[in-house]
Symmetry: C2
């Protein structure tokens, strides 16, 4: 079984690291001329998958924009994930789930176990309850060859209250979470592979400003939002992430989706060109 880290690396080698977000929020559905319903979200999402599949290796559906339609929206999300994976895309479920013990296992059963209804290659998880609380979920993910992206340093300004707080060792919360995640990839690091435990680090601040040591992340995939509308530029990944730039998966949503159904393929191509420039 090939684990998440190896699959991410292979996808990145073959097609570049770009990840395309799938965010069917109300304003976007309106702009696409689609109804603000589960059916509208399905139409938008499958169009994005079609445009993404020949161009990138990774997509990231945002759970909230399906969950807002309740069970009907979750049924659509199940289909979208299935179709995307069948088309050869890796799927990162952006749901920011997090809880303890058997509850964490419940989320793993939903998203990460083999044959789970929403089985994704990876799930974003939130560590307010501690990364250790998520270990039951991580274990189930890895048993199925899947993985997680743990929120470390997010792209929004309100995040600093928690993420820049100082842990017992004097570092920031963001740095502690990133280090704890990277420690779970030690086996992969030893063989110069990518691990299955990624982190989310927004591209809106240089890594050093969050107190995160780039060197520690050599084997750790980094999902990086914050490009485009939020201010970061794809051309600046090296400057933002330094020694950790090699494992960065930049995620773009708004700037691609706002191109509309006719323009999305070209918008993805433009972002790819910007990345390889």
């Amino acid at each position: 079984m090939t684990g998440l880290g190896a699959r991410l690396r292979a996808a990145t080698d073959a097609r570049g690291p770009l990840c395309v977000g799938i965010d069917p929020h109300a304003a976007l559905l309106r702009a696409w001329g689609l109804p603000d319903s589960a059916a509208g979200a399905r139409e938008l999402a499958l169009t994005v998958v079609d445009a993404a599949a020949p161009r990138v290796g990774i997509v990231k559906p945002q759970a909230a924009f399906f969950e807002r339609f309740g069970s009907a929206g979750i049924a659509v999300l199940e289909e979208v994930i299935r179709v995307a994976r069948a088309a050869g895309l890796l799927v990162i479920g952006d749901a920011k789930r997090g809880d303890i013990g058997s509850t964490a296992e419940g989320y793993a059963a939903a998203w990460l176990a083999g044959g789970a209804p929403l089985e994704s290659d990876a799930l974003t998880v939130a560590p307010y309850l501690g990364l250790g609380a998520l270990d039951p979920l991580i274990r189930i993910a890895q048993e199925a060859g899947n993985g997680v992206f743990v929120l470390a340093s997010t792209s929004n300004p309100e995040g600093v209250v928690v993420q820049s707080a100082r842990t017992a060792d004097g570092g920031t919360v963001a740095a502690t979470i990133a280090r704890e995640a990277a420690a779970r990839n030690a086996g992969a690091a030893a063989t110069r592979e990518w691990g299955d435990i990624g982190v989310v680090i927004g591209a809106t601040r240089p890594l050093a400003e969050s107190g995160i040591a780039a060197d520690a992340l050599a084997a750790t995939p980094i999902l990086a939002p914050g490009f485009g509308a939020q201010g970061a530029r794809l051309a600046d990944i090296g400057a933002i992430f330094g020694a950790a730039a090699a494992t960065v998966i930049p995620s773009v949503s708004r700037s691609v989706l706002e191109a509309g159904p006719e323009g999305i393929a070209a918008a993805i191509d433009a972002h790819r060109a910007e990345l390889s420039a």
Copy 2:
């Protein structure tokens, strides 16, 4: 429109503060002789609602244990919430959602807006991205007369890495989040009411140990897990929460649910008796 705080207070005055968890995890379904399926979860959850409705004012379904069955599980959760509210219970959706901007609004549209598919009186939310990031969600909740419970200090030991980290003012993350939540209830505090913005504070540690000032929480509902199997005793609420004890809503799950379908009503009554002793 009566807001969440006023409804919680009225429910607590009429029936006591006890909140009964609805946690259809696999081991529990097995113990109840039910299939590990959405249908099994439905049967268990509706039995709990039946037993709870004449005895307590508040129930707390755990989203993960429904989500693990995908859209079929979410359809059951929609029904359970609807039935519970129709029976006069207040429902706290325990989903620990959290995100920024329009995504936070997506979760509000799922759980908190008027007529939302999973409309609950309150939703638990996780503030790793900052409490400020959740303000769009809180605004939508309050417009519909609903509210949130923000994770501040959780009952699990792994939580201290993040929650005991020190914010810029020298306090803990837990204390900062609790203070920021309480500040959003300032209007209610002025009229000696309860606010719509609650906090989650585990009962497994005295409030002072988490660095949280009890005085600041006079108008802030406190959802308190950690009783029973996790170690805290209902009789000790005064000792654990001090001056904040009056707004504590103790939540019990395992110790009630493990009594099985025949024993659950008596188990709820026993907990109520322990609380009023």
